[in-house]
């Protein structure tokens, strides 16, 4: 219990440190830091309907974050969540476009499944390269994000283009109402149900199955796991594909839910934020729930800032980045003298 409290305290301390750094940068850039932070808090938690917006962003972020938890626990730095998320969105949109005249419920299920499959496949090749030849997955998955972004541009401006769309942003045809899993608010029984189901499944997978336990060990001591007779390569590839699959599901949720169509360059900060959620939660599934609600709030604030408060939404990117900078620190506060004395 004490160890857990310490972890929570540490996370809060580093988030606070990150906010201080951001405040200093806001001041240096000529913005008032108190104004900026109060606008962020307003947009995230206090304004009308903020909690619904919070949940709207938190659900897909949490789903992706559980995937990051799986991969990072196994020791694989799959930072390609953004690309896998885009591929999931593309998969869902392809299913919707291909299955015309099929009952709505079937289309919905097929779109979700195809989203998961596309996401998993986009994580498969970096996983394969990593496990077969030791190709560093950090670079391959990062490059995969850029390629997936361009693929999304091509899909929305080519094969799936909505001919009636305006020239500003390219997008696919709207998803038929019957196939949508939520209205534009993005909060519906289906979305909440999917999110909870993923949370429970991943929690069980990570904490109560051989895969999860061995994966957690593999992340810390792969040699030992090999000696115990586990197939490290199968474990790793499984972790990559599960992680891609969850990100793909999140992408499908966006397209079938609040977005209602496949938009070029949608949710550009999704992947990075999902990785952050998993790290702030110290790679725990249950912790990710609360952290996802916090970052969901920040995500909704990034829409609120420019429209209501007239402040640049890049401020939210800065807050996220600063948290990423500090969150993995291990030097403090475990080195505080009063803690050392009691150990």
């Amino acid at each position: 219990m004490r160890a857990r409290l310490l972890t929570v305290g540490r996370a809060i301390a580093f988030v606070a440190l990150a906010l201080v750094l951001c405040g200093a940068i806001f001041e240096a850039a000529g913005f008032s830091a108190p104004d900026m932070f109060s606008a962020i808090i307003d947009g995230a938690f206090l304004s009308d309907g903020a909690l619904v917006h919070d949940l709207r962003w938190a659900c897909p972020l949490f789903v992706s974050a559980t995937g990051v938890v799986i991969a990072f626990r196994c020791g694989y730095f799959n930072v390609g969540t953004q690309g896998q998320f885009y591929l999931g969105g593309i998969g869902a949109a392809v299913a919707v476009a291909a299955l015309r005249g099929v009952p709505d419920v079937l289309v919905m299920v097929a779109a979700i499944i195809l989203g998961i499959v596309f996401g998993a496949l986009w994580a498969f090749w970096p996983g394969w390269l990593r496990i077969r030849s030791g190709t560093d997955e950090v670079i391959t998955t990062l490059m995969g994000n850029f390629i997936a972004g361009l693929l999304l541009v091509w899909v929305t401006s080519g094969p799936l283009k909505d001919p009636s769309g305006s020239g500003q942003v390219t997008a696919s045809r709207p998803v038929p109402i019957g196939v949508r899993i939520s209205t534009d608010t993005g909060v519906s029984p289906i979305i909440i149900g999917l999110t909870v189901a993923v949370g429970v499944l991943v929690w069980v997978l990570v904490n109560r199955t051989a895969f999860g336990v061995l994966g957690g060990l593999a992340g810390r001591n792969p040699v030992m796991v090999t000696w115990q007779g586990a197939r490290l390569s199968r474990l790793g590839l499984g972790a990559f594909m599960l992680s891609g699959g969850t990100a793909g599901l999140a992408g499908a949720m966006e397209v079938l839910g609040p977005d209602g169509r496949l938009v070029s360059g949608f949710s550009p900060a999704h992947g990075f934020t999902a990785v952050l959620i998993a790290l702030v939660a110290n790679l725990s599934v249950s912790g990710s729930v609360i952290v996802a609600l916090f970052f969901g709030g920040l995500a909704s604030a990034s829409l609120y800032l420019p429209v209501i408060a007239g402040l640049p939404s890049a401020a939210i990117d800065m807050v996220n980045a600063a948290i990423a900078l500090f969150i993995t620190s291990r030097a403090w506060p475990t080195r505080l003298p009063w803690l050392r004395a009691r150990r």
């Binding site: 940068i25 806001f26 850039a29 000529g30 913005f31 020791g75 694989y76 730095f77 930072v79 390269l129 990593r130 496990i131 030849s133 030791g134 190709t135 560093d136 950090v138 670079i139 391959t140 990062l142 490059m143 995969g144 850029f146 390629i147 361009l150 693929l151 541009v153 091509w154 401006s157 080519g158 593999a218 992340g219 810390r220 001591n221 792969p222 040699v223 490290l232 390569s233 790793g236 990075f272 990785v275 790290l279 640049p312 890049a314 401020a315 990117d317 800065m318 996220n320 980045a321 600063a322 948290i323 990423a324 900078l325 500090f326 969150i327 993995t328 620190s329 291990r330 030097a331 403090w332």
Partner: protein
Amino acid sequence: MIDLIVAVLRTATPMIYVAMAGVLAQRAGIWNLGLEGLMITGACAGVVLTEQTGSVAAGLAGAVVFSVILSALLWLVIEKLRANPIIAGLGLTGLGLGGTDLAVQAIYGSEGAVTAPVGIPTLGPAFGAFGLLDALIVAMPVVVAALWVLLRRTRFGLRLSACGEHPFAARSVGADPARMRLVALLLGGVLAGLGGAELSLGGLQIFSVGMTAGRGFMAFAAVIFGAAHPVGATFAALFFALVEYMGIKAQLVFGERAPRDFVLMLPYLATILGIWISARLRGGVPLSSIEMRDG
């Protein structure tokens, strides 16, 4: 042919400078994924300060200063707070991308592109087709050679490599790995800032938000592909630039038949190919050494 050489050099040089920063960090034992952030900071500071003061020298100086400050921050977080270098580096990249966006909006009130009135001086028409090459491109081979000498022929460079390869051994001969890494990152900050400035001030003299588009990460991949050797990384960056040039050329020749989005993917695909080859040739991250990267 000359056109090809000039175009490839102009595309590759920003990446080469940034890759040299990566080589220094890699030798010192730090996986510097903050390069993308340093590069965009250099690009932004270069153009904004040149636009504000009208002097390219001020722009270059600003690019270097901001990039060095960010590098020092990265060192602090990795060495003193013992953060994971990969995540901290990605955080620094995010800070650079977000910070430049914020700065442009704070100064100009919109997210539009910023144009500098002057760029880095070029050789000029007297040199014919080579006249397009600017001072930093001409200096690039000298910088690469100097870095090679520094790393392989000086006491400092050899100690630096020792810090990366075997910190314990380095410490036993009196080198302080933490301090050596600080020097490597600060020196890298100078080079990455120049690389960023070359990207924005060298070509169109324009800065736009997110203009690096992964070039910093590609520079990092060039370090891996080039085995953390200055010359190797330079050739890796030249290869990536060549692929990019061939894509643009293909589009000019084939027009609509070479879809724009797929052509733009080519450099990223080349990067993946590059580090895959590198892993096959020299062995990549072994499956049994995952915990090593915990820093």
